[in-house]
């Protein structure tokens, strides 16, 4: 009886306010969708950061025969003596975990495997590839210090900190995430105002009913619940659209770039994100309805 009555009231309210209801649904869907995308990017960034941070190396490139790097100009290729000395220097550094030597042939193989364009691969010979020490650090955060101390060493042409390359990639994803979250906050704000307005309109439309309910002694819950439910149901429908949006985003975007990522976005994460955005959406609708009712529905 009770549930029946309240649902019929909710249905009437939603139908009478159809345009506002649609506006609420769309706003909540977009807002929660963006919030979810932001959260998904965030989970990707942190899982990737964790994955890559462990693999990050310093690449210490060595001077070749006719190297164009200023550090090698006119000095010719690095000598075996210099190489051994450099290796010892690196190994003796407290922050260094391991040092591997990569010769020209290995470098050429990796270069080929990376699938760079065929023309370039055919022109470049193994002889032209640089030799390098691959330095693995105990603490990736110390990379800068190690890099500084190795920079001036004889025979070192150039040092590449992979961390910096990753950081710029992560930085880009971070910006994307912040943008998504920023827009999501705006949308949530808009949704709150819209829901407030919808509930106010609804309360005004049904002031006759609520007046009579008050007179015959309906409890506050009974009077307010249909309005709150209206907001919550609109929020839920918006949340369902947001969930669809998130699933589509995972399939069309995250799964497409998965090949470049070590840790693909799992369905578990997506489910978690969807649950969270749903809860956020519904709670926002609930609060907005309550606050508005306090102002416009005297009980």
């Amino acid at each position: 009886m009770r549930a029946n009555f309240i649902f019929s009231e909710v249905w009437i309210g939603l139908r009478r306010n159809l345009t506002m209801t649609i506006a609420v649904i769309v706003t909540v869907a977009v807002g929660m969708g963006l919030l979810g995308i932001g959260l998904m990017i965030n989970s990707q960034v942190s899982s990737l950061t964790g994955y890559w941070t462990n693999k990050v190396e310093l690449s210490v490139f060595l001077c070749g025969k006719n190297d164009a790097f200023p550090a090698c100009k006119n000095k010719g290729a690095i000598t075996q003596e210099q190489k051994d000395k450099l290796k010892l220097t690196i190994e003796s550094m407290p922050d260094v975990q391991r040092v591997d030597f990569e010769d020209k042939l290995q470098a050429y193989k990796i270069f080929q495997e990376q699938g760079n364009n065929a023309l370039l691969t055919s022109v470049i010979t193994a002889e032209e590839m640089p030799e390098s020490f691959r330095v693995k650090l105990k603490d990736p955060d110390k990379a800068k210090a190690v890099e500084e101390s190795l920079k001036g060493q004889a025979g070192v042409s150039n040092i590449v900190n992979q961390r910096e390359i990753l950081d710029s990639a992560f930085g880009f994803m971070g910006k994307l995430r912040n943008m998504a979250l920023g827009v999501a906050i705006l949308m949530v704000f808009a949704a709150t105002l819209l829901i407030g307005n919808t509930v106010r309109l609804s309360a005004y439309n049904r002031r006759r009913e609520t007046g009579i309910m008050r007179l015959v002694g309906a409890s506050n819950v009974y009077i307010q619940l249909p309005f709150v439910m209206e907001g919550v149901i609109a929020g839920l429908i918006g949340g369902v659209f947001a969930a669809v949006l998130l699933i589509v985003t995972k399939i069309l975007i995250f799964d497409q770039i998965q090949t470049y990522m070590a840790a693909p976005l799992s369905w578990n994460t997506v489910a978690g994100v969807i649950t969270l955005t749903m809860i956020v959406g519904v709670v926002i609708c609930l609060l907005a309805s309550f606050v508005t009712l306090r102002r416009y529905l005297r009980v």
Partner: protein, 229 residues
């Protein structure tokens, strides 16, 4: 049943009190007319009984409850024991007679079986048998007021408040309305009716409380309307 003790009500932004040190006792089962010119405080009196307004001073007891001590949470329970009828009927235009009466029970969570049983009884009591499925717009003013009375009475309240119930109805039809109110009164329900209608007050010969400028100027059992003029 209704007990006003030295009650004063001053509305915000008004200097003159709407009710000025009013003390009245209405016993269980009484029928009381509240008369007086517009603005004399009749409606304020009724609103105070419903706890729609709070007095500035004085104590009000309704159905044995001290309204000042009644928490907002419990006000709906007080209102369930008080039925209300108004000059403008206040029916829901999109619901038929049966639904309008049933609405009052639905919103206080009564079971459907109970509603099916009592609503037809009350519709019959107010003399609308056979019209349960009419819409309010298909009914005359008098019939609409009967629907409103059925709605007010369907939960068997201890008190029925009527604010100018015959104000929009021609004198011939008003007699029918008064008969229904009398019938309700005979079931033991206390009836408090605010009115301008001298003919009705004179014909009923019930207790009359007259208000003027918020003060009680007359309280007479078996009174008539006109004496003070």
């Amino acid at each position: 049943m209704i007990h006003f003790d030295n009650v004063t009500k001053v509305y915000a932004n008004q200097n003159r009190p709407a009710l000025d040190h009013v003390s009245v006792d209405v016993d269980k089962g009484e029928f009381v007319f509240l008369v007086g010119p517009s603005g004399s405080g009749k409606s304020t009196f009724l609103r105070l009984v419903l706890k729609e307004e709070r007095p500035n001073s004085g104590a009000i007891h309704v159905a044995g409850k001290d309204l000042a001590k009644l928490s907002n949470f419990k006000v709906p329970h007080l209102r369930r024991r008080i039925g209300c009828v108004f000059q403008d009927f206040r029916l829901l235009p999109k619901k038929n007679v049966y639904e309008n009466v049933a609405f009052a029970l639905e919103v206080i969570g009564k079971p459907r079986r109970f509603i099916r049983k009592v609503v037809p009884e009350v519709i019959e009591l107010v003399g609308l048998e056979g019209k349960a499925h009419r819409m309010p717009e298909e009914l005359s003013g008098g019939e609409q007021q009967r629907v409103a009375m059925a709605r007010a009475f369907v939960n068997r309240p201890m008190i029925l408040l009527a604010d100018e119930p015959t104000g929009n109805i021609d004198p011939a039809t008003s007699i029918g309305i008064m008969k229904v109110l009398d019938r309700i009164n005979r079931t033991g329900t206390t009836v408090l009716m605010a009115t301008h209608d001298a003919a009705i007050v004179d014909s009923m010969r019930k207790r009359v409380v007259e208000l003027e400028d918020g003060k009680i100027v007359r309280d007479q059992s078996r009174g008539v309307y006109g004496q003070a003029y």
